[in-house]
Amino acid sequence: MSTQDQGEAAPRRPAIPELLIGLGMLAASAVVLWQTLAIPVSPLYSKVGPTVFPYITAAGMLVLSLLLLFAALRGGWQPEEEKATPTDWWSMFFVVAGLLANLFLIRPLGFTAASVIMFVLVCYGFGSRRPLRDMITGLILALSAYFGFAKVLGVNIGAGYVENLVSSAIRSIGG
């Protein structure tokens, strides 16, 4: 009986992370409602205008966020193994740093250079300790992505120094 009591008592404690997720969902439904109220409605479409579905969505999200909060207050829903593993913030920090570097450098430096920097940072975050090798791997990958993938698909990604350098090299060899 005592083990059952523990089973009853333990999950009753509110789970903070899940509570935050529920609050986030609640905030999201408020934003959806706010943006729905901002949709201008012409009287011509008063029957089923552009706001009917957004209202349904906002109401649905509100109900769901309350249900999530309810579940969070009753102990949350994370599986034990998920809770038992601590989050590797250091690793995540480098991945996020890589993503942000890419975001801010892709305009000024071009796709390849920005990608190489992201590649090295993400590799470091994942535990690779050979940045020079990663840089070369990243360069080969970014260039093949640029010349292979992007050109074949007809996608135009911003060219920077590296791309122009390689392009002119190819042109001078080719003709």
């Binding site: 992370p17 949709i39 552009p50 579905f53 957004p54 590797d88 993503l99 992201m118 990243g138 996608v155």
Partner: protein
Amino acid sequence: METLTYLAHGFTIAFSPTNLLWCLLGTTLGTAIGVLPGLGPALTIALLLPITYQVAPEASFILFAGIYYGAMYGGSTTSILLNTPGESATIVTALEGNRMARSGRGGAALATAAIGSFMAGTIGTLGIAFLAPVVVKFALAFGPAEYFSLMVLAFVTVSAVLGSSAVRGLSSLFIGFVIGMIGVDLQTGQPRFTFGVTELLDGVDVIIVAVGLFAVGETLYVASRRYAGKDEIVPLKGSLYMTAQEWARSWKAWIRGAFIGFPIGAMPAGGAEIPTFLSYALEKRLSKHKEEFGTVGAIEGVAGPEAANNASAAGVLVPMLTLGLPTSATAAIMLSAFQSYGINPGPLLLTTQANLVWGLIASLFIANVILIVLNLPLIGLWVKLLRIPAPQLYAGILVFATVGTYGISQSPIDLLILYLLGAIGFLMRRFDFPTAPAIIGMILGPLAEQQFRRAMTIANGDWTVFYKQPLSLTLLTLAAIGLIGPHVWNYVQSRRLKGQRAAPGDA
């Protein structure tokens, strides 16, 4: 027997040299991304969507279908050798397959998975060819109200019935709805959910959503879980040839798996997990070697679920081609490829786009033949892919994510949206929200809204139109049962088992 005539015509299209090449490319790429953890068919097809501006619809759909089928084959290799299911549908394959690999029978496990996939894929594709025209006959009678109700049913089954939690599945679906509504409303021209940002007027591209949720979100998740430890690759031992006894134990499981998988996949509910679990349970019950389950690995436990998985993947294409109803993330992205060509999948697709549909179905048969060659004699090649170290793999995925996103309009705003979605994807992955409903909600939500408004306009704003028509009423009732039924059932069970604790976790 006009199906056979159409199918013969389809083969003349699929056998053209260029289309064969597309099929070969798709199946090879599909196997590769299926093998690699962290990449899936939905993400890959999303990244390749720009190809729809370059080539004929037949070519890109043959490519996409090759990727779709190939990923199913490749996924089983990873499950068996690495015990990391690449996709939720191969969880069951990992159960027995990895145990077989550990006890030195990895070769036989891979063989039964590949041959079973071939058998089930072929049965499933035959199923598409013969079932699709039948569904079309029904679907022609559908009006906007019935379509809307059918979509509601699909929403409920995809997010609430299948999966661990109805609330979290529906949350994911509604997030998808919001993303799908961003942009200018097509009927009235009013901007919605744009927050005054001009870049959002065109809506959020499905590429960004898929890449954000699957690639960026997944990478962040894997990075955050590095303390969880790694799975070891089990070296491939033993011959790929199955013994007579292994054949005898496999073939019935393949057939049973295929006949469980295809109908479930073809229902407007989708989901490949349920049929694999059903097949596993069935094989376990019927097996004469029960002691091998969960110990050294039972070959039936690989053969059946693997067949069920592939047959249900084929089945998913039925509602998608005949009703325009995607029930998996990959199918939803394929639907957006149709939209990119200005084609609306629906009951008319089989007649107006006969070349495309029958060429595609024929190419699926060819894809299966190519895939069994790729995945048995050449298996050693794919095992090598598993040795790509995680740092370079995930960093590389992010490079391709950038190409796919930045290539849309060379706007850093797109990258910012990508990262925001990546953060949402990470939280969803971390807190066990399924991501597929978000993609389905984003693609299918606007279509549901369109049908809803069309039905309401025809009925002059009379809400009763949805429950006055018997078919529509039936579909909505089924949806309601799917939503409420399990809770009522749980309540009844918990009342009956009073004293014992009811199963926790359905948040």
